[in-house]
């Protein structure tokens, strides 16, 4: 069972506030949800909406058709019709009536002299629609507001609740999940992964949609004993992270595509100087400024090939909020094990989606530093034969002197132009790529085992595809999806276990050029025959993918 609530209006009309209250109520009921902000790159005005899909099973995909639409102004009320599910209800703060439209206006509501009263009445109506008790509204206060305002808000919500309760609407029951759920978005999950991994330093330049990572870490820096610094630009951010990482502190930076373009310069430095660096690129549509607050998966090949020269790197693309936590944690261990940059690719959809999910389990997590603390005579920081565990940094012992260098360098880190040194360094960097493969996770196969159609997806799209496969198979289709979270390096035989005679391979990506499909073909020689792409700045939906698949299946 799944219900989708849409809250729409202009920036500044309280969409976020209303959404947060609804999220809180849903969480307190112990239900799963995924809430996604669809907002324009502006502070006031425009047309924004938040979509909240509530369910008794984990949610990976939003639904574009609203079962309940809360319209906070006239424009939203007018556009609501186009976004409704069958039998969907519209509640509006405007004085409008019609079939399926409920106006929240009343004399009692007008008597509450508070600009948010309409929005709060909408929150009350949503509670009534979801079948919650009026009691659930009692927690709707915010510490930052005065008691008077909180009181007015509670009254407005109660009015909305009573008003909607009296309106005929479908009743539905959701099963309550067994475990208590945590509520967070993808950016916070990445930040928590970094904290769990023992990151001491985070340095970034503000850029939507990545800023949430820095904001969370900054807010928590005292209790986590971290230092979080806003850099003057993204080159500085990554250089500072490298500076800290090369001095023994786990360090990270994060940005979006435009900022990553600047970081590219520093990326190669981390690689050649074998500094363990973790960076997150929260993708948004490009090129250039693109669509700052929207989503796309078009930086994959850029992230894979960014920088001059050839070197080893790891690219990971979490498929869900929960995966974002565990993957970020792993990124730090991998970075220090292989002394390479590890790049985490998320996107605005994952970053800004708030979900309830099972509490993260730290029992099995172990921080592994791969350093050499004992003094060594004639220590060679860049020993060409030694790959794992030979790392020292300044101050780790009382005798070593460590050189970190951006040139082709000898085993001590000093500049060299010798042929044999050049070759040895190159071979070391290339051999790391092979070694890393043993530590990367295989893609996850979901769906039926006797599939006729195999969908390929990576990153946040893989979460959505998972639900699409379920919908398709519920309708009698035989489909499966191969979900990639660990992207690169990629094994030549990665598809061997999944390619069967007669199956149709469908590549699903949030870009126009099938970048992952190209990567698969480049590394494995296997080419997809069909593709489903979305590049309008909006996330895929399970239903949308299902519909595209039905066309492909019926060809």
């Amino acid at each position: 069972m799944k219900k989708t609530i849409v809250i729409a209006g202009a920036a500044g009309e309280g969409i976020n506030t209303a959404a947060q209250f609804v999220e809180r109520m849903v969480k307190e009921k112990g239900l799963y949800f995924l809430s996604y902000k669809n907002y324009m790159s502006r502070v006031r005005g425009g047309y924004n909406f938040t979509t909240l899909t509530v369910s008794d099973i984990p949610v990976h995909s939003i639904c574009e058709e609203a079962d309940f639409f809360l319209a906070l102004n006239d424009e939203a009320t007018q556009s609501a019709r186009a976004h409704m599910a069958p039998n969907g209800m519209i509640a509006t703060t405007e004085a409008r009536t019609g079939e399926g439209i409920v106006s929240l206006k009343s004399e009692a509501l007008a008597a509450i002299k508070n600009k948010n009263s309409g929005t709060m009445a909408g929150v009350g109506a949503i509670a009534a629609y979801l079948g919650f008790d009026k009691e659930n509204l009692s927690h709707l206060e915010q510490a930052k507001w005065s008691e008077a305002i909180n009181q007015q808000n509670a009254e407005a919500a109660a009015l909305g609740y009573d008003l909607f309760k009296a309106v005929e609407h479908p009743a539905w029951q959701l099963k309550t999940p067994e475990k208590p759920q945590i509520m967070l978005n993808g950016n916070t999950a990445v930040a928590l992964g970094a904290i769990a991994a023992g990151a001491g330093f985070y340095c970034a330049y503000p850029m939507a949609p990545s800023t949430g990572i820095m904001a969370y870490l900054m807010k928590k820096q005292k209790e986590t004993h971290m230092l979080v610094e806003q850099a003057e630009d993204e080159i500085a951010a990554m250089m500072a992270a490298i500076g800290a990482a090369s001095n023994g502190v786990r360090a990270m930076t994060g940005t979006s595509g435009g900022g990553f373009s600047l970081m590219v310069e520093a990326l190669g430095f981390a690689a050649v100087s074998e500094v363990p660096l973790v960076a997150c690129n929260v993708q948004r549509p490009g090129p250039a400024t693109g669509l700052p607050t929207r989503t796309e998966q078009a930086d994959l090949l850029f992230t894979l090939f960014a920088s001059q020269g050839e070197f080893a790197r790891i690219v990971l693309a979490p498929t869900s909020v929960s995966d974002a936590f565990y993957t970020t944690f792993r990124a730090f261990n991998l970075a220090e094990k292989y002394q390479v940059p590890v790049l985490i690719l998320t996107d605005q959809y994952l970053a800004d989606s708030t979900v309830t999910t099972d509490r993260f389990n730290t029992e099995a997590l172990k921080i592994e530093r791969y350093v050499q603390a004992a003094p060594i005579d004639d220590y060679k920081r860049y020993d060409f034969e030694s790959y794992i565990g030979n790392r020292k940094y300044p101050g780790i012992d009382s005798q070593s002197v460590i050189m970190t260098d951006s040139h082709v360098h000898d085993v001590y880190g000093h500049v060299s132009e010798a042929k044999d040194v050049t070759i040895a360094l190159k071979k070391k960097m290339m051999h790391k790529m092979t070694m890393i493969l043993s530590d990367l996770n295989q893609p996850e196969l979901v769906g039926v085992s006797d599939y006729t159609h195999l969908l390929i997806a990576w990153g946040s799209t893989a979460g959505v595809v998972r639900e699409a496969v379920q919908l398709l198979n519920d309708n009698g289709q035989k489909t499966a999806a191969l979900c990639f979270s660990d992207i690169y390096p990629m094994a030549e035989n990665v598809l061997d276990d999944y390619m069967k005679p007669g199956i149709t391979l469908v590549n699903v990506e949030g870009n126009a050029t099938n970048q992952f499909g190209k990567l698969l073909r480049m590394e494995t020689g296997v080419k997809y025959t069909h593709s489903i792409n979305r590049y309008d700045g909006r996330p895929f939906t399970a239903k949308g993918i299902m519909q595209s698949m039905e066309v492909i299946i019926n060809e």
Partner: protein
């Protein structure tokens, strides 16, 4: 006893280059402060001057062109116990790295930043630098420089740098005394070190500098910002003052983060750190 910082490495500097004197002065100053190579981290960007970390025995980071300051920031926050020295040229510091210099000073990193200022690009062979005089002919700018030169001292004073000094590679005793004062200073110490480029700058030669530099008188008060700004305007035929132009006590970068009790690198960390944060999300 031999100076522990000295390395008998071949350099790629031209004979007669001011860098030799700067390196020697740095080695001697570090030794005079009873530091060991394990106590010191020398960070640089790219360029002839920036090769210096390879030529002494201490921890080193030879980073990217213009990017030494942010790399030094990261190193410093990780382990502030290391005495941090940044050594790079005028193109690296004032050109490619200008933005980082500005913000490094704003942060007041505890660092000694030595700028080897020869008013020309060396490693790329003779193009104009941010400090090359207006109209000066270079190997590239055959018709003369079309931009006004940057005044690094006035720039540093105006944006709040707490230690602004100038010295000359041709006066080692002076350079060492300024270096020593910079090392004792807690905060961003910028030293613009005038040096000849024997290969690519035929205007600002050893003699050119020698004839123009003069030591600030003992009566000079480096705490007078307006006076310092005035002195910073002097350059060229009217004479070039060397010494500490401006000094001011202010809280350094890490002093502004009072939640840290010890260097970041010394914290033991555990995945359990997220448990209380996860509780907040319940």
């Amino acid at each position: 006893m031999n100076n522990p910082f000295k390395l008998n490495t071949k350099t790629t500097w031209c004979p007669g280059c001011g860098n030799f004197s700067i390196l020697e002065c740095l080695n001697q100053t570090l030794e005079s402060l009873s530091l060991t190579p394990q106590d010191v981290l020398v960070v640089s960007g790219i360029g002839q001057a920036a090769k210096l970390p390879h030529y002494l025995h201490a921890h080193g980071m030879n980073t990217l062109h213009g990017r030494a300051v942010p790399a030094a920031m990261g190193a410093h926050v990780a382990n502030p116990k290391l005495k941090l020295i940044l050594t790079s040229g005028d193109g690296d510091t004032y050109g490619e790295g200008g933005n980082h210099l500005l913000h490094g000073i704003r942060r007041n990193l505890d660092i000694v930043h030595m700028v080897h200022d020869n008013q020309v690009y060396g490693l790329t062979k003779g193009q104009g630098s941010p400090t090359t005089a207006f109209g000066q002919v270079t190997r590239l700018q055959y018709d003369g420089m079309k931009s006004d030169p940057l005044n690094p001292m006035a720039f540093a004073i105006s944006i709040g740098c707490g230690f602004v000094a100038r010295s000359f590679s041709g006066d080692p005793e002076h350079l060492k005394s300024v270096l020593k004062a910079a090392m004792a200073y807690k905060g961003y110490a910028l030293i613009d070190i005038l040096q000849p480029c024997v290969s690519f700058n035929q205007v600002n030669t050893f003699k050119w500098y020698k004839d123009r530099v003069f030591k600030l008188p003992e009566t000079y008060d480096p705490h007078d910002k307006v006076r310092a700004f005035e002195m910073a305007q002097l350059f060229g035929d009217e004479g070039i003052p060397i010494g500490i132009l401006y000094e001011e006590t202010k809280t350094d970068f890490l002093g502004r983060f009072n939640h840290l009790e010890k260097p970041l690198v010394q914290y033991d960390r555990s995945p359990k750190a997220v448990e209380s944060l996860l509780d907040e999300l319940l």
